[in-house]
Symmetry: C2
Subunit: 486 residues, 2 copies
Amino acid sequence: MTRKAAIIGGGVIGGGWAARFLLNGWDVAIFDPDPEAPRKIDEVLANAKASLPALSDVPMPPIGRLVFAKTVKDAVQDADYIQESVSEQLALKHRVYADIQANAPDAPLGSSTSGFKPSQLQEGAVNPATIFVAHPFNPVYLLPLAEVVPSPASNPALIERAKDILRDIGMFPLHVRKEIDAHIADRFLEAVWREALWLVKDGIATTEEIDEAIRMGFGLRWGQMGLFETYRIAGGEAGMKHFLEQFGPCLTWPWTKLMDVPEFNDELVDLIAGQSDAQSGHHSIRELERIRDSSLVGFMRALKDRDWGAGRVLNAHDAGRRKAALSGTDAAAAPLTLAHLQVLPGWIDYNGHMTESRYLFAGSETSDAFLRLIGAGMDYVAAGHSYYTAETHIMHLGEAKLGDRLTGSLQVLSADEKRLHVFIRIEKDGAPVATLEQMLLHVDMNAGRACPAAPEVLAHLFKIRDSHAALPRPPATGRHVGQRKG
Amino acid sequence: MTRKAAIIGGGVIGGGWAARFLLNGWDVAIFDPDPEAPRKIDEVLANAKASLPALSDVPMPPIGRLVFAKTVKDAVQDADYIQESVSEQLALKHRVYADIQANAPDAPLGSSTSGFKPSQLQEGAVNPATIFVAHPFNPVYLLPLAEVVPSPASNPALIERAKDILRDIGMFPLHVRKEIDAHIADRFLEAVWREALWLVKDGIATTEEIDEAIRMGFGLRWGQMGLFETYRIAGGEAGMKHFLEQFGPCLTWPWTKLMDVPEFNDELVDLIAGQSDAQSGHHSIRELERIRDSSLVGFMRALKDRDWGAGRVLNAHDAGRRKAALSGTDAAAAPLTLAHLQVLPGWIDYNGHMTESRYLFAGSETSDAFLRLIGAGMDYVAAGHSYYTAETHIMHLGEAKLGDRLTGSLQVLSADEKRLHVFIRIEKDGAPVATLEQMLLHVDMNAGRACPAAPEVLAHLFKIRDSHAALPRPPATGRHVGQRKG
């Protein structure tokens, strides 16, 4: 059954939460009195739709239903999860919580607050045990981090449930065990921010120079390892202790101005705003968002390939979905439709078409599904036998573009105890965009040579082969590259 | 003529400099009295060779010659550039500079110092005008940033020459206009470091939790935009000034402990070292280096695809090389080695082999690089023309496994105004793991039909075709699937 999230406060952060829930198949009700809220949410949702699916290698669930509620009561009714993202004013948050808990006192109620502690948020609440911090990072629909901060008054079981919900929408809940102003990450951001204000004010560096000093160097490091793991490497074989002893003394050196805070006056604001215009003013905010999101998708896909950091979170999220996506294929006396795919943003090359290698990927998805069907899946391989692809001929016959839904069907051309010759059609709206003719060999993986497949596998295979013998042989079979058509 | 760099001090940083110069075709002489230096340098160089070429889409120059010099004098003799990376002790640096300048008083002399100002480095020097800060970031062979800091005593023309040299080895020289302790980036690192020490000491978070708080959130942002551009987006259409006015008040809130410095005692060292062991101790430092480098390559390639940030630096560096690569093609009639890849965890199927579709991916990387080489890259496509792949025949000839390093080379079989018939070899240790025979068609993307390529593209293409006409035709060409060998 579809679950429901209530989003209270529909700015950039609330909109990011809404997009994440919707694209992960949750229904969402938003409450925000701002008449501009629907437009703002639409913009965030458009950005999310253009980027989040590119991180998934399994079909996404159908998008949830979005409702703009007229009252907090309507929004939170029957909600399985409530996220508050109103302005950073404690009194306002308390009023909103009273309204929420008058209608839904038991639902997990996360706050996007950057700075307040959960015990502050809970003050005077009807049910303090359900209120906690769930602090996300912009863009909420892409960045996995959510700092989950309970107070001693929180219900531990509810916190665990909330963390499961955050994982369900692809996030990485970081359980912050002791509450503290600004939690963890924002303390670092604040430290860097204060130092940066000094550097600009003192004319050491412009906003652009500061940004380059970050993104050309340690910023790249911090996207994949944090502070300590990076320094562990710097310490080398001598170890972390050696590193610490070497760098400890710097603590007393004048390497930061952070003992002090710059005066925050109009002059400083104008200086920074002017430098920022010079640096980035030639891009609109929408353009900057797209550039940012596209780069973040690139980083996260790089990490996904390596099953590291944020990429590990994505892989775990996919694995949970794959099971659902694979169930429900049945054999038939016709080419077997085995794969259903959607062309994701990350599959597109600079021509705007699906990249070449994704056609072969679609073919592999189809043949893998076929092998599972005849009993030569994961367990079979784990026991030491497998089909290897020896040869493939691909015909590119059409163009697959962003968002296209493709099917992969397979016809057995011939098969014996060791060889399996198949023809795969990748189709869009019933018309082929590519065909793949493949020769697979059954191998003993330990001996490293071809051998007959197991009798139960051959029984399934030969049954399908015999029924497919009645099918017309596709004209594209037996072709070599450059051969004239017809 | 090959140029020479002298590297004084051969630790991780000096080794990183040496690797960057060598892989960019410079000869390098290293001086380091440590008998362990050659082993350490070899290790850094092995890491660099395994990662830096993966960032290049044009053939790299031949690797330079590495010499371990017995004296500073031997090292700096005839050097076009000198980089000092000895320990952070000012008196030691002064002694080393005296030795260097007694033998090479006029060469640019950059220091890797994290903290000292150039005017401090210049004190008492024979020729202060040539001494400046060139502060790199580990791993030096991958991260583009070098903070270049002159003092008023520096020679501006020499500083410009040094910046050109840094660009020549693929770096991004950030000219810091006013000298200051710890330059720019390390001030931020120091601020975060001090805050992190407090968080660990106070038991708020472990080293692992802090690292997750960074790399799952703002760390990903900072690899592609810095602090100010990120916040500019957060400010939205209302602008940077609005953002500043909203967040200015936080400066007086207790969001950082940075007004204070934690006591750096054994207890704190043990706490951090112990937590770091628990977090990362199951990986050796070498493993962590490989994981880091592989992820950095992934990030930088993602940015390169988008021509943004560090990726823009890489593209500019490639562009400078492309001309040299093209002019070199008529010298030797050989298949062009265009792609360098490593088999990543995400590329492996449940057989433990590189998935089928990654062979085609490797082929695409090779043909894409070829198209860029002949002038049919991104700009050409943006202007409405492109080569589409019509047909591909893949022979699977070997097994690529996790961590294997592959190269992709391309031979032109035939080409006319519209058609391009190529043969691609994907090789591991010089032996093919797969070959791809491809037919590409040149198309007018708006009209949606084949058309002749631009004259300047054809000029490059035909020159390569004509030189490749002398090469033997690979026996695997013209095959169809299932055809007997021989």
